[in-house]
Subunit: 346 residues, 4 copies
């Protein structure tokens, strides 16, 4: 069988480059074409010398990517995916959007948080939300997939079993999240200039981050209620990883054992979710460069609080890896194909 | 006037070494004697080559420190300060305890969280809790001062104005804190071995950290209620700094303007607390090597949540700097003496 | 064909753990048994939680490793490999020594720098030095392989083409090398305690490092002269990577073009050596987690100096990766099997 | 006596901001005016929030700085200092240039390495080179001072005693230097974007850095010969510090004792140069935030090589601190005024 032809639009951004890295090791897919507005005509390895000699494909235009590919991954600023998605849809190609344009079902929420409109409402109805561990069946075979954001992957995976089993209150949720700096992209900015970020730590977009409505959409879908969360992201002086520390009030009389049972029942069969043994805490270090989401569970019995802590690599399970997982589901491959990697220990 | 003679017991630990650094620049105090169990007979600059040629005092025994000093700072493992404090008390010397032995008023709480007993209950009654911005008047002229812990400085300073003015609920508090690694001390351990901590981030002692009862004691004292908090510390791969992100439910109808007014009224006169302009977020970077506590304030109106974020240098305002501030109060010096330092910008 | 059974003695050290990581992704080898003195009875994933769920093999004893394996990798303190090597030799098993016991041909040099003796001189004669790009033919099919050290891989690969072609003087060589901290091992020590190493940089074992005679042995072998080098290693506050900046006096009238030609002729066919385009400088970042050695070449025409700069991942090409490469050569596999990995770009 | 009025042109760059930090703690100088092209009208503390509440001076224009100040520190891109210097000269104000415009005596060298011309040759003759430990007498009372660069401070201080005493050859010198990233300035660029620089290490401007002729000028002045050096700078993923590892061939029969004697004789009376005890190696960590230059000395007797390793904080002894030291010399103050700081131990 010939390999799936992969195209990446926006290949020189961090998410795009990471897709190229994962496809390099994928047994049933191969890179067919890449594009970049900023680096058209340059080899990917000129932008990322780490790839030198291994992945020297030259960046072309977007049209060429669509033409040569069976699946198009788009890593574009929000607002720019809709036309490309429509084009791929028309040609029967699979389109996996790394951006936010197809994530929110509620157009009003999109307008409020991102400022744009859904130009093709029918197309938006076709889109499925690609968080496989929560919505796997809806993704299989689909050709228009909204790949979730990073925080919006880590938070729901930390809380899903408690929500689905009705073990926690859906009000008063606090999601205190911390992200490595690759989440902010490749473009140099003052706040991520090495001397400024190094030895620093702060929060940003406090209770005002665009991932808020996306987290709420998923938690609402899981709970059947209209959920609001307090979400505060922080910026870590490390390259990769998100740690989500989620606080929820337990329903009366819920025990730690009940929680553990629910989490095991939910996650023991999920390859990419590793429920850690009691007492161990998820650490971003242990999932780096891989598609795993480590989940750890604590109960503060003094205050009746569930504390669920999850860790992902923001560029893999929080972006490119999950996108490849979605491609696998879309094309009927083994879901883990190309993603069975041992995280480096150090 | 001759300078105050300063003694440091446990001078080669991080907190002790930091006191020596601050005393070096203090206009009215000077180092008189230092002790160390592990490095007796060695110069401080052999342990910390940064001090070479400037502070080469040799570590002697504890007795010598008591004898030569007007004030003794003790940086000892918990349980070891009580005898030394009694000895200083008898000799009329000022004793400032960097450890936990005199922090908790409730002996039962001490027993539960630290496992020891108060051998001299009368002595414990003499001790004052040295968080100057909250309890200044009680500290002036006192000779037995319990210097607060790091988290236990950052959290109350973030919330005090809201509590004192009755603007927030005292239940459901979440304190999500992040600390630099110097807080864990000088002794090499696996978890803080460079290759293990570098590029890592995780929580530890989840809802189980010994600073919990100390935070609760201060918040209870401020509010007049019996407060419980959910407190989760995290370990940052940076050397210095604590960021405390505190979440509290606002009382009904409390507005952001009310909060800002209360915070300004409370902190505009405090030299070491810098209430940041609206929109700015406290960052550990901006307080490094100094005694400042930066406080920033946010309201999540979607969920009715107060988010107060404070930043300190855990080794200065969270340890040695606050101890010097307490010394200044005890001896009737200018409270800021030796502590008016501009944080380095990078 | 059944897979090669791999055993690792000293599996919980950094080099051992890295071999386990690489074998996990090897198409023709599989982990059969591991041992550890410090962690016998514990799963590898208890020591390295990154491996949880993927590589949970329990550490047993050394005997078990020998028995179950076709090839034994030994990551032991120097002096401890000789007996184990003899045992494997007797049983006809392949033995790849990660330590220094079989690297030096000259027993006197071993005695001088390491302090031990060669108990079985005949066995030492069997050993081959496993730097494939320089001594490939001698390694194929061999069963006792001394895997080179990290600096001792980076320096010779930087200089080999200039030496082999007689383009540089063999006196006055300066090798200024910088290593990431994993090279110092897993055991926590004061100098690698996070707060001490972070934001620090210094040299160590100045002109006194044990890799000196090993570098000299290889350069002497390449040049046919008795070479002495000035070698100064430095410690970088990063996890992985060695950068070797090597300075040599050019022979009279040698041109930059001659040098480039020699380097291309030598390395264009070597998969794991990437000779960078003119003007680009090797960077440890671009080889992390992979077996590549990036080589960059400069001529200081003002002083007639060749400056060759190479970069490797000290744990891969400088240890475990090269060991797997040697295993591939020993067993007649494709030399690159299990090692064709794209370095992550960030 | 009223304090010296200090003006800083280019105050929002790293060197300028560091001068403001040092002047804040100076007993006999005070900031009078600052300017910035990029941030005119903004407070310094808006650019550097670490300064908030302590140094909130607003950036004005260059004219205002000249008018209000007794001494003007200029931190400008090369080529822009000459006019300003002439203006200050005319008004009898002290001018200390942080840039390169007055460092090189040889205009041809300036033209070759920087590309500009000396418009006012007479003015250039007035300028003195401000490396106090080497040229102190020439600086005292002078009003036009070229403040040395960072590498160009570290290298000569490492070698001066050996050169001045004729103990080393002046050919074949290798200066392998490593700098923290603040040396590259405040402006965000791709190579210093956090995710790119973090966990990286490489050389740059190999044998091609503009500090080369300045190093050669100083070493030539010290030796009386026309010296050429091979100089390779590297970029460390840390904020502050330069480590210079300098290799020189020893003159025949020179002993280590002779070297140590020469170094002690030269440096024991220099407050800011700390000659380390035998066996200790200079570390950038131990001089951070201060004006010290730590010097350590080694002899590789196997190859007859002197290895001198020096460490400075590139922003202090390598820029702003040395500039303040020069101001002190110019105004007849205590040379160490405002600069007696204990480096933080961690």
């Amino acid at each position: 069988m010939s390999k799936i032809k992969v195209g990446v639009v926006g290949a020189t951004g961090y998410a795009g480059a990471e897709i190229c890295r994962l496809v390099f090791g994928h047994p049933e897919a191969e890179l067919a074409a890449i594009s970049s507005v900023s680096f058209e005509g340059m080899a990917l390895s000129e932008v990322y010398p780490a790839y030198y000699g291994l992945q020297d494909m030259v960046c072309g235009g977007q049209e060429e990517v669509v033409e040569k590919s069976d699946v198009v991954f788009a890593a574009l600023p929000h607002g720019l995916s809709q036309d490309l998605a429509a084009q791929c849809h028309k040609l029967g190609k699979c389109f996996i959007d790394m951006g936010a344009d197809f994530r929110l079902e509620d157009e009003a929420a999109y307008k409020e948080w991102y400022g744009g409109e859904y130009t093709d409402k029918a197309l938006h109805k076709e889109a499925v939300y690609g968080l496989p561990e929560l919505f796997r069946e809806g993704i299989k075979g689909k050709k228009l997939i909204a790949n979730p954001g990073c925080y919006t992957t880590a938070v729901p995976l930390a809380l899903a079993p408690a929500i689905e089993n009705g073990l926690m209150e859906m009000t008063g949720l606090v999601c205190d999240c911390k992200s490595g700096v690759t989440g902010a992209g490749r473009k140099p900015v003052q706040s991520n200039h090495y001397p400024e970020l190094n030895e620093s730590f702060t929060a940003y977009k406090v209770a005002n981050h665009r991932h808020t409505p996306e987290i709420e959409q998923t938690l609402s879908r899981l709970s059947g209620e209209d959920v609001k969360v307090t979400f505060v992201p922080h910026l870590l002086p490390i390259n990769r990883g998100i740690l989500a520390t989620c606080y929820a009030k337990l329903k009366p009389d819920v025990t730690a054992d009940q929680l553990w049972e629910a989490y095991h029942a939910r996650y023991d069969g999920e390859f990419f979710v590793r429920l850690l043994p009691r007492g161990q805490v998820a650490n971003v270090k242990n999932v780096r460069y891989t598609n795993f989401c480590d989940v750890s569970l604590f109960v503060d019995s003094r205050t009746g609080t569930l504390i669920a802590i999850s860790a992902i690599d923001n560029m893999v399970k929080g972006a490119a890896g999950q996108a490849v997982q979605n491609m696998n589901l879309s094309f009927g491959l083994e879901e883990t194909a190309g993603l069975v990697l041992l995280p480096p220990a150090f």
